[in-house]
């Protein structure tokens, strides 16, 4: 019966919409914007994005160019020189001073935002994709598949994530890409567990039962019915995970396993100038603040999203 299929889809879609909320997206945005902390997070994140996108325009120098190459005066660890605050006009302005290699610290911090945001999003995206697949299969298939997959995830979770990441980088070799991969791998179980829990919950809903009753294939049910309705907790977890990924890759870079010289990555920048802590503390403080702000932004947004999407907290 050729006319039965559109009818089935329409019916299920209506059920699915009813099972969720017709104004979920609108409510979510409204709820997020009601929370000051989330708004602060969104503001910081927006600024970070703008800085990252327009880094070449904002930064006065190339991040890896030494003042020595430009013939400009300066020595390692010079403090900030801001004309507005009394620094002589005949001296070149360096908002955050000069680093150990006599490079403009502000330019490196600005370009570092690009690296850090890429790290955060790529790492979490990789972990979400792989974790979603594993969690969805485990949750939907159940039985032995569920057991095997989740026990594997438990094994990964049983190691301290940073230690496991260090082990992975040691095997794969140092470098930013491998560090991101390592952090992504150790993050997979988190998303797999979240996804599995969502699938277990959603697969018992009426619209899934209806789809099954109407003869839709397992793959169709999983991809068209269950996954779209299981993403909410993943989005929350992913947002929180971005901050964590930025922090962990910075930690790997600090110990020399992540970003390699001369990459302008905040963790590496702190490591590179750590011996100037007493004579030029600004070289530690500014990248440190950048890391703090970016992690804080994603944590605030994540918390806001979680609250906004939790029906129990709806007012």
């Amino acid at each position: 019966m050729s006319h039965a299929e559109p009818s089935m889809d329409a019916t299920v879609d209506i059920l699915a919409e009813k099972a969720g909320s017709s104004s979920l997206r609108r409510d979510t945005i409204r709820n997020v914007l009601r929370q000051r902390s989330a708004v602060v997070g969104l503001t910081i994140m927006s600024i970070l994005f703008l800085v990252a996108v327009f880094a070449p325009l904002i930064a006065p120098y190339e991040p890896n160019t030494s003042m020595l190459d430009l013939g400009e005066p300066g020595s390692r660890g010079d403090p900030p020189c801001i004309h507005l605050f009394g620094c002589p006009e005949d001296e070149p302005q360096h908002l955050m001073g000069l680093d150990s290699n006599i490079r403009d610290e502000f330019s490196r911090v600005v370009h570092g935002s690009r690296v850090s945001l890429q790290i955060g999003f790529l790492t979490v995206s990789f972990a979400i994709v792989v974790g979603t697949i594993i969690g969805a299969i485990a949750g939907y298939a159940g039985g032995a598949s569920d057991n095997v997959l989740m026990r594997m995830m438990d094994v990964v979770l049983s190691f301290p994530s940073l230690i496991l990441a260090i082990a992975i980088v040691t095997v794969l070799g140092t470098g930013l890409t491998n560090a991101m991969l390592a952090i992504g791998i150790v993050s997979i179980p988190i998303y797999a567990r979240v996804m599995r829990a969502s699938v277990l919950s959603v697969r018992e809903t009426d619209f899934v039962t209806a789809s099954r009753a109407l003869g839709e294939s397992s793959r169709g049910i999983l991809t068209r019915r269950i996954l779209p309705n299981s993403l909410t907790p993943l989005i929350v977890q992913g947002t929180l995970g971005i901050g964590g990924a930025i922090l962990e890759v910075a930690a790997l870079s600090f110990v020399g396993l992540g970003a390699q010289p001369p990459t302008a990555e905040w963790g590496f920048m702190i490591a590179s100038d750590r011996n100037l802590f007493f004579s030029a503390p600004h070289l530690i403080i500014f990248p440190g603040i950048a890391i703090t702000l970016s992690v804080l932004a994603f944590n605030l947004i994540g918390d806001g999203l979680r609250d906004a999407l939790d029906p129990r907290l709806n007012r």
């Binding site: 390692r76 150990s100 001369p262 590179s272 011996n275 802590f277 007493f278 004579s279 030029a280």
Partner: protein, 593 residues
């Protein structure tokens, strides 16, 4: 053997038999038993001085084949070393016979790697059947003012005063070595009073220490060299023009001006000019980026190439901030020669082992601090016939000039040889000398007799840390091992120097060689035979008495690559061939590739 003995004729036969068996099995040590056996009426507990002395001679076969040009067999290379024979003529006399004169002999034997070990100790702590990481690496049985109490891996080395020391007792009961690679941490520890002295004050921390009345800064002369090395067995560094182009393409003045502390200077030669004949010959290439780029193009690399910059992240007097200097060299190579160099940091011990084994295929950053003030310590160790594979295949014009220079008997006569050697080094560019780094150590102000040593071997037995009963020193890194015959890292050598002693030693805070375990070592007129008389009453930390056989075996296990006890941490024994031109029974060259 140096432990006190009780003598009897029966024991004499047994001992002689054992010595013959030992020599026959290992081929390592011959003994000459005195012809006069003790009278049968002699007391069985005769004083030690009356016991016949079984003096060792090395090598057992007579003497080493000086001047050998061809490999004697497939398992060995030709002998290039300068030792001909070592003999213990009696309990307190050792005779070193050399192939060629060595004017720096006393300075060389004063070096820490040649600290004397007890025969029984060597035989018990080195397993002839073993390979690397022998027991002797973790334990010390020296004759020095301190003895090892504990080496807590990753934390500290603790030493206790040796109350049986033959010389002046150490001023402090305990000496503790700690370490941190971070200059900032070392300074914080000193400021907070948890340590009494630190090595290598950070380049930017000099004013902080000088401005603190509770601290005392002790600048150290730059008797060192920081260089950029290349191995000529790896492409593209197998091309002379490539190495010359890099030599011209690095602005060394920029490195010294911006990243080195006060007291540093650009190196015109590999050896510091303060050392006689160090600066003989032409000064190094001037920086010329355009000419360098053209030369690289002429060498077949108009667009540059990709390589690595390999180093260890360990602060040394010659390299106060490795990461920063490496990044600037990386930037200069890119800007001046379009060479893309990825930075590769290796663990310190691994890096040194890789360097010695010729396994560093990129540009590597390393340096050298003077062990004794003679040009041989710099040039022969790195470029002489007995040097390691660090720079690849050796150049005959360099090795022959160094051999001639080492055989000279006075500085003026040696100069032409070092002119030739330095000019040949400049032509072949096995490395690029960058800087002689000034550095400083710092102490708490109440430490008396605090000093810095131009050789980096501060001697803590003479220091008193206020009213405290222990002296805590914080250096840059943990020693890889404590059998310093098989170490070349200054962090290990300084620890050994507190507990072990050589026949000669260097004056405190100076460079002159002065008698230590030997009361004197006197040469013949040709400087080819050195007769050393040992000091009486010296005992090792375990109570064994020092005798001439201890000296012979200490040298023999380092000298002979085939000796059953020629084993340690990694078995490289880098210093011996570096200073005395080669091993006895040297292994064949490593196969290509």
């Amino acid at each position: 053997m140096s432990r006190s003995r009780r003598w009897s004729p029966r024991l004499a036969v047994l001992a002689a038999s054992a010595a013959i068996v030992f020599a026959a099995c290992g081929g390592s040590t011959a003994t000459t038993t005195p012809s006069t056996a003790p009278e049968s009426s002699a007391p069985t507990t005769a004083p030690e001085s009356m016991a016949p002395y079984e003096a060792m001679v090395y090598p057992a076969s007579g003497e080493a084949p000086c001047g050998q040009t061809d490999a004697p067999d497939a398992n060995h290379s030709a002998y290039t070393g300068n030792f001909k024979k070592i003999s213990a003529t009696d309990e307190k006399t050792v005779v070193f016979e050399l192939c060629n004169p060595d004017v720096a002999f006393l300075s060389k034997i004063a070096f820490t790697s040649f600290a004397i070990n007890d025969t029984a100790w060597l035989e018990s702590k080195i397993d002839p059947a073993g390979t690397t990481n022998q027991a002797i690496v973790n334990e010390v049985n020296g004759t020095g003012p301190y003895k090892l109490e504990a080496w807590n891996r990753g934390s500290d080395v603790t030493m206790a005063r040796n109350d049986a020391y033959w010389g002046n007792q150490a001023k402090t009961e305990k000496l503790i070595f700690r370490w941190s690679t971070e200059a900032a941490q070392r300074l914080v520890e000193l400021q907070s009073g948890t340590v009494d002295g630190i090595d290598n004050v950070g380049p930017t921390d000099f004013p902080t220490v000088e401005g603190d009345a509770a601290l005392a800064l002790k600048p150290r002369a730059g008797l060192n060299i920081f260089y950029v090395g290349m191995n000529n067995t790896y492409a593209p560094f197998d091309n002379d023009m490539v190495r010359q182009a890099i030599a011209m393409g690095i602005d060394r003045q920029r490195l010294v001006d911006n990243f080195y502390p006060p007291g540093s200077e650009v190196a015109t030669h590999f050896t510091p000019c303060a050392i006689p004949n160090g600066c003989a010959g032409d000064a190094w290439y001037e920086f010329d980026a355009a000419a360098a780029k053209q030369m690289l193009a002429d060498a077949g690399f108009p667009d540059g190439f990709t390589t690595k910059i390999q180093y260890r992240d360990v602060v040394r007097s010659y390299l106060p901030d490795p990461n920063v200097v490496a990044q600037d060299i990386q930037a200069q190579l890119k800007a001046n020669l379009n060479i893309t160099a990825d930075i590769e940091v290796q663990e310190s011990g691994t890096f040194l082992d890789n360097a010695d084994a010729g396994k560093l295929e990129g540009i590597h950053l390393l340096g050298w601090g003077a062990d004794y003030p003679d040009v041989t310590n710099f040039l022969d160790f790195h470029f002489g016939s007995g040097s390691s594979l660090q720079f690849g295949d050796k150049w005959d014009d360099i090795t022959s000039a160094l051999a001639a220079g080492g055989a000279g008997t006075d500085d003026a006569a040696r100069e032409p040889s070092y002119v030739t050697a330095n000019n040949a080094i400049k032509t072949h560019v096995p490395m690029i000398p960058i800087a002689h780094g000034g550095s400083a150590v710092a102490y708490r102000a109440d430490v008396t007799d605090a000093h810095s040593s131009p050789l980096g071997n501060e001697y803590f037995a003479v220091m008193t840390p206020g009213d405290r009963s222990q002296f805590v020193w914080m250096q840059n890194a943990e020693p890889p091992g404590l059998y310093c015959a098989d170490e070349s890292d200054g962090e290990a050598l300084r620890v050994c120097e507190q507990m072990t002693e050589s026949l000669y030693s260097y004056e405190v805070a100076g460079t002159a060689a002065e008698p230590a375990l030997a009361e004197k070592c006197e040469p013949n007129t040709e400087l080819t035979v050195w007769t050393c008389t040992l000091r009486s009453g010296v005992t090792f930390h375990d109570g064994a008495a020092l005798d001439a056989n201890d000296v012979v075996l200490t040298y023999a296990v380092q000298w002979d690559a085939d000796h059953p006890l020629h084993k340690g941490r990694d078995g490289s024994f880098t210093y011996f061939p570096g200073l005395f031109s080669g091993f006895l029974n040297p292994p064949p060259p490593a196969p290509e590739g």
